[in-house]
């Protein structure tokens, strides 16, 4: 395969600029808000902080000097490249990087797997339903769409009420049993799976409808294309026409939605993590917001932005591989 240098270069330039813009906005956003983090911290711990402690906090957050915005901005970039995201108030002044990296794997693992399963399952089902249009399989569409339109928190709560409170099949909350700590043992991995099953299943059920509907509709369009008739006239077996010709082409638009949903894995699961008290990024952001923990919020925003960007890059690459027409840039 020819390597489309021009295409790669223009996409890279685009993404670098987007990343720069996102990081810059992330810098200015907290500065537009009223008050500073130390004042907010003081208010929460009213009376418990001595003036000396306050001064050391101000030094720690760099609020003691009268530096200009531009100096702050360049410092921000320097600290960012050295991996220093500041310190989180609501977690006993632990480095933000550490706080985020303790929450990120849970979200990535659980929601990532659920999203991929949902995408693969939904796309395959949609392809089959589209292929056998007008058959009884069509009833799957309204049923799965119903579950997507039901508010997620309601679905989650019902799932907890039925499968964990009443039937006791799954634990209701958290990522592992109370009292155990993360380690690589069969017992701990079993706990993680047991705790993750219910949230993962509810995510799959809630998002499946969109994939099925999107794929089915695309299949109906693609199946009317001439090259499908040609493939059939060529004596291709039905399975080959279905997967190599129809589904192969119908899934291209699905791919961009998939990239978007990968981007939302990190930030878009606040409700799930709330309902299941799951210790992921969404819950972290929620806690940071209620605690007015600006450094942590800023860190989480940064991670979310970067996740969306990375997902987009992945989608671009996948699209370029699967659809040669997108590799052409205007000369």
């Amino acid at each position: 395969m020819k390597i489309p240098v021009r295409f790669i270069a223009s996409r890279s330039a685009f993404y670098l600029f987007t990343a720069f813009a996102a990081i810059t906005i992330n810098f200015f956003l907290p500065r537009m808000m009223a008050g500073d983090p130390v004042t907010a911290y003081m208010q929460r711990n009213a009376g418990q902080i001595t003036p000396e402690a306050e001064r050391s906090l101000r030094i720690l957050f760099g609020l003691d000097q009268d530096s200009s915005v531009w100096e702050q901005y360049s410092d921000y970039w320097q600290l960012l490249f050295s991996g220093d995201l500041g310190r989180s108030f609501s977690n006993g002044l632990a480095p933000v990087g550490d706080v985020i990296s303790s929450a990120l794997p849970w979200t990535l693992g659980l929601v990532g797997i659920a999203t991929i399963v949902s995408f693969v399952l939904g796309t395959a089902t949609g392809a089959l339903i589209g292929w056998r249009r007008g058959s009884k399989a069509d009833v799957i569409v309204p049923i799965s769409t119903f579950f997507s339109t039901v508010p997620y928190f309601w679905l989650g709560l019902i799932a907890i009420a039925v499968f964990s409170s009443t039937l006791g099949w799954f634990p209701a909350s958290h990522a592992y049993d109370k009292g155990s700590s993360p380690e690589f043992t069969a017992d701990f991995i079993g706990q993680v799976i047991a705790h993750g099953a219910l949230p993962a299943i509810t995510i799959v059920i809630a998002s499946l409808g969109g994939w099925i509907l999107g794929m089915r509709n695309m299949m109906l369009t693609v199946l009317d294309e001439d090259y499908i008739t040609v493939a059939q006239a060529k004596g291709m077996p039905n399975r080959r026409v279905l997967w190599n010709y129809a589904a192969r082409n119908a899934m291209l638009p699905q791919l961009s939605s998939f990239a978007l949903s990968i981007g939302f894995i990190v930030g878009g699961t606040i409700v799930m993590e709330m309902v299941f008290s799951y210790p992921g990024i969404g819950k972290l952001l929620l806690d940071a917001t209620t605690a007015k923990d600006y450094p942590l919020m800023q860190g989480v925003f940064l991670i979310i932005t970067m996740a969306v960007l990375c997902a987009n890059i992945l989608a671009d690459v996948a699209y370029a591989i699967l659809d040669p027409r997108t590799r052409q840039t205007e000369a």
Partner: protein
């Protein structure tokens, strides 16, 4: 002495909608080995439905309501196309009868290389060929239609309309079928490219000896290239005669109207002015 390749008897197709549309009505025709049969008629007269119906390529709501299609194979075996089961039908398609479709632009899959689409045919119909043999066969086909072997890794959007149609013809030739159905193969092309493609088709036909059913609404074109011409109207074949006969003594009123409707270069009305 007649040496039939395909016998169609009392063939009818109905689109089962409300009200039902009788797209093809009791068509009977016999195609000789090595012959070019032209199928002419206005849009919507059932030409394409008939061609698709021969290979049972139609989807619901189209229903074949009566008739038989018999393919007299070169091996001497007569194949009753309507009696084939799904798997036999699949193997029959393209191997015995191949097709060239009207929209050269849309008939190729836009996201795979033309090489892969040619290769597909061999993979499915000639599973005993290995990768290198298939590749050699694909390259040979592309050379044969003057597209050139170096195009094997091109995508359809990188080729002109004429080249795409040539690729389609190469694909149709792949298994050396005994019959090629051409459904308006040149309609979307300008007259120069059209001329070139037609020359190529007739040259290939001399080389490989396949029969052609050539579907078009361009009657003057048919007069020039076909041995016999069938004129279709409202699903029926209203006149079937050797090209010269049809040109000199059209029997049916409709045929006369059709012939009279094509202007001459000199401005007089009709190819035929009597």
């Amino acid at each position: 002495m007649p040496d039939p390749l395909l016998s169609v008897h009392d063939f009818s197709i109905v689109y089962d909608v409300d009200p039902p549309v009788e797209a093809v009505k009791n068509v009977t025709l016999e195609l000789q080995r090595g012959e070019i049969l032209g199928l002419a008629g206005e849009s919507g007269c059932g030409k394409t439905t008939l061609a698709y119906g021969l290979q049972r390529l139609l989807r619901a709501p189209a229903v074949i309501t009566s008739g038989s299609v018999t393919f007299h194979d070169a091996s001497g075996v007569d194949i009753d196309v309507n009696a084939l089961d799904i798997e036999e039908m699949r193997r029959f398609r393209w191997d015995k009868i191949s097709m060239v479709f009207q929209g050269a632009m849309n008939a190729l899959n836009p996201v795979t290389t033309i090489g892969a689409q040619l290769d597909d045919v061999f993979q499915v119909h000639r599973p005993d060929l290995n990768r290198r043999e298939r590749r050699a066969a694909c390259e040979e086909l592309l050379e044969l239609v003057a597209v050139g072997r170096e195009r094997i890794r091109s995508y359809p959007h990188e080729l002109s309309g004429g080249m795409r149609q040539r690729v389609m013809i190469a694909m149709a030739l792949a298994l050396r079928p005994q019959l090629m159905v051409m459904d308006e193969p040149t309609t979307a092309l300008d007259v120069l490219v059209q001329r070139e493609i037609l020359r190529q088709i007739s040259q290939l036909r001399h080389e490989f000896g396949f029969s052609v059913i050539f579907i078009t609404h361009d009657l003057p074109l048919l007069l020039e290239i076909s041995d016999r011409i069938a004129v279709m109207r409202n699903g029926e074949i209203i006149e079937l005669a050797p090209a010269r006969e049809l040109w000199e003594q059209p029997q049916h009123e409709y045929t006369k109207t059709l012939l009279a409707s094509f202007p001459r270069l000199t401005g007089e009305r009709g190819v035929l002015v009597r």
